[in-house]
Subunit: 344 residues, 4 copies
């Protein structure tokens, strides 16, 4: 049984594990006050080309989104998101649990468009009763999106400029950012992300770490007493070293970039194989997640040998499934997939 | 200057004021433990044909929605509402402030449809990852809706049955219920509302009271320690008599129904006048709110003599405005409107 | 049966009722945008000697405390209060419901002391781990306190100075402020309250109104979009006129002060009668609430003829009860009390 | 420089690290649906002698307390805790952030007493106005407490019985439970904890894991949809294997117990050395944390060579500091401490 189910099915990259072993018995302060966290932050800032960035290492994605959004928003504000956004659909209401509304925009394969964002904001402020409505206080996008799609540099610039003209921060969810910046079809770099956003996070969990997401405040805008806010939301890890060592390793010798690149290379191979085998793509994304339309009987057989994710029902006889590669996808997996597809 | 701006521009119906005066110096217990609150509840139950209903008198509409919804939902649940629903758009995020997501359904002139509700619920439970999503824990509708539209008895039955088959309560916002049940074009009575819903509220503020909304739990389903929950949300009035006397009066000698009827009679006259004057209706509602498309220059002149509400931009040259009648709309107002329209 | 149970057992002062009647049919804007609210605010500012104060009229006390405290505090902050404070004990957790901790200080008859406040703040900031603790972000006191006790001008100055030196606002709950400033034993005026606090509220409910509390931000420090924050907490009244007319009347021809004075005069008479009848005081407060120790058998007899409030158990054979006068306490009540006490 | 600063200064026990390495490349489902989590739960249930326990693995202590308490309490309920309880003092208001009040009881070296608990509950329900107060809905204790103190079996039985008679759950915070049950001075076992509590957690972070706390619902009382509640609070880890593998290892071959025992043995040695060197104990606890009173000049010298934690100021010239041993305290550390103490 081979797996293309998602990008978090195995543990950590070996270099990360090795560093955890090497540093295991060092006596260190807790709560992120350790030398590895410090070193990780320095390296991340450098990678982002943002020397005065402020960085906080959290454990998981939903936790990160809840922490960042609730820490930045005023009580009377909500966050604008694609209607398909992870915060809106797949986080069990974590944002609303923190007291804030998610204001949704229409989306296409997970992306919002500058025009619709601007139209929303204009219309909102034109409404005489807008004081009875939730203020749009932030824009949330993910890059790549839930659908693996990517914003172009120009699209990000437009969204960023709209945010600035309305004086609201742009927050980019980078759970799979490694696979976004490694794409062959992108003109967006990590440095662009840092310049164009006000805050973003670099996903570790899906890029080779056991856990961990690095929140980057790019405009000297980390909310006051952020550690206390994190503690209050259960997002302050006692042994912060676990996060520090992992991110320090990811940003040493470009491991983060290499992990991203690897998944893209494997994705290219996988796409070729699927196409050669005559599979139809629902959406051919530029990143590590691919969406394929499969006839239901065929899918049944396929699933006996390959793990993939159910995405949605296509029609009575077909289903959309997701194939994902990752930093850990081996050539052997790709070859086996080819063999299996031929045998079906 | 005459006003058709909304249905809460004047104080209270004279009978209510008189009762407040008559009872003013009676020494009464606070927090709803007074004889007038008790009497009001008995009369409301009778009017609803629901002898074992449980009733709580709150002060305002947003407060009521926040209290009812947050008291009934579990933490992991959200409330289904029309995307145009008052709780979703015009309550400044009060529901989210209490920790719950509003799950939106498409709507037409404020109404949701049974089919789309059922489809939502089916699809939700079919999703393998629904434990990562907000559980649909209640259906919220308003009757009349924000657009003055009304559900038919059959439509309500369908929605009610869907709710029961999914074991989630149906909550009806009756801010303008007086004008709904008084409509000439409805087959829905107060008793139907009580039978078909699990909880609803009878709006006092817009039906002749200074303030006050009567929450009716129809299925012996008032949440435990509801008074404490209300206190905790700032919704327990010290001088509960203010609400008790008002509702006791509204439900004496059918004042509530008469107030509703009066607004509908005046609405009919107003519609006739507007039509005679050649005005085009955006939506001719069966209740006290009417939506009229007016050319912008004409609107400018009209607004010098008549207060109406901006509703939305129709096109470059036209605006949709709302004309509302109420329990207090006088014949003189209607006549003056006729004169003014002729003079424009 | 006469009642000294509390200070909100009857409706409104006749002048307030009269104004509600007179203004009842005036067509006014909703949500506090009416001329009476405007006029009330002007008069309150003048009374407070604080021409640039910002004022918001809310409906009830718990609502007011929840709104003010949650609007002013940052997420990481809590509010310091006497351990007996109303917000800490008798508001069903309304402050915690809004997400904030109440940090308690020891109290004597409801009052906190400057020394203990300062000690708390010093110790807090001296703790190396204070980032893992709730930041003290506001001081809440009530004047009069729950026990009817009053701060001296000097005591208030000390508390106020400590707050300023730590840069945290001082909030004074004035639910019974009318009876505080009317006391014969106080050197604190309404103007002092305005100078020494950052925000306070003038209680209407217990001073002759049907409902209503006027929140006064004294230092140009009303939180941004306060109306939206109020709406979100269910604290924005549609017919704001109900509050506007009442406060406009209370601050016309010194009605608010007269109501306060009346209760104090009646309190003096009541105390004299109780003392003459040999009753022992648990605490002889300078305001309208008096705490008397009564032998249980005697209390049983008394309660057949006089309503008083249970306060606490004194010992096996005695109970502390509260006698309260108010703006509405009549000479006849006092005389009847005298007769009853003699007859027991 | 040797460290007795706390019990989380190094990484994980070598057996845990080894298992992480061995299992690293296994393809596993996310979100706790992996075989190691399953195996860990089976072993924990066995260790607790509670075959129908329900177990959830969370990442950290504050997260765990927030999740358990907010999931079990009704909106109108608060949690009773020692005034020194971790949830009350050192979690940055995480419980209040989730909307609930902490109701404090007096404590002695971190422990509450059954009598005072019962008295609180009795008094609460005797108060006529208790519906205006927060309902006591749970009792929180920690074992060991913040001060390293332990409840006796009898004391726990009494507290447990009181909880049952009032029908409220008893929750035991076991962040350092390993060091509690390993004490030479306890008659309380893990099985006792499971029998006497309704829910408790087994701390991993301080007992040899990198992170992780195992929540054990002992009475078939895990709240419905607990995974969703965890997700909503940011407490659902994508790579649940990280927790599963660690707890599976801790509960294999008694590693958890051995880790606890080791710290107690080292504690005994450390106490002997400190006593021999003439140090005075503020509180000689039966577990791995020891509180020593040290003259300030001496402390200054000591801290150049030994890391200890500031606990509190004792008097002008003395400070209380905490010395902690743990599963990782080596004999060499103990010997070096002895040498250093002699040299001062």
């Amino acid at each position: 049984m081979i797996s293309f189910e998602n990008d978090y099915t195995v543990g950590a990259h070996s270099e990360i594990l090795n560093r955890l072993i090497e540093t295991n018995m060092e006596v260190l302060s807790g709560y992120g006050n350790d030398c590895f966290t410090e070193s990780a932050c320095i390296k991340i800032k450098e990678s982002c080309g943002c020397s005065n960035a402020q960085i906080y290492l959290a454990v998981g994605g939903t936790q990160t989104n809840q922490l960042v959004i609730s820490a930045l928003l005023k009580d009377y504000e909500g966050v604008l998101s694609a209607d398909t956004g992870h915060v809106s659909v797949h986080e069990a209401g974590a944002i609303e649990y923190s007291g804030h509304k998610i204001l949704t925009l229409p989306s296409q394969f997970g992306k919002i468009r500058g025009e619709e964002l601007e139209e929303y904001l204009k219309k909102y402020y034109a409404d005489e009763n807008h004081e009875h409505m939730v203020f749009p206080g932030m824009v949330y996008i993910s890059h790549p999106t839930e659908y693996g799609s990517l914003y172009t540099r120009k699209e990000l610039c437009i969204i960023s400029q709209i945010c600035r003209s309305y004086n609201i921060p742009l927050y980019i969810d980078g759970a799979r950012l490694a696979y976004g910046i490694a794409s062959n079809e992108t003109d967006v770099t990590l440095k662009d992300i840092a310049v164009l956003s006000d805050v973003f996070y670099i996903g570790g969990t899906k890029a080779g770490a056991l856990c961990g997401e690095a929140i980057v405040f790019t405009k000297n805008n980390m909310p006051k007493h952020f550690t206390t806010l994190a503690k209050q939301r259960g997002a302050l890890l006692a042994k912060g070293r676990l996060l520090g060592v992992q991110f320090d390793t990811l940003f040493t010798d470009d491991l983060y970039y290499k992990n991203g690149k690897h998944a893209i290379i494997q994705k290219d191979k996988m796409v070729r194989i699927l196409k050669n085998a005559g599979y139809r793509f629902y959406y051919e994304s530029p990143t590590n997640q691919q969406f394929v339309i499969i006839e239901n009987n065929l899918l049944k057989k396929l699933k006996e040998k390959v793990s993939v994710s159910f995405w949605e029902t296509y029609d009575e006889n077909h289903t959309v499934v997701r194939f994902a590669t990752s930093w850990s996808t081996m050539d052997a997996d790709i070859l086996e997939l080819e063999t299996i597809l031929k045998s079906l």
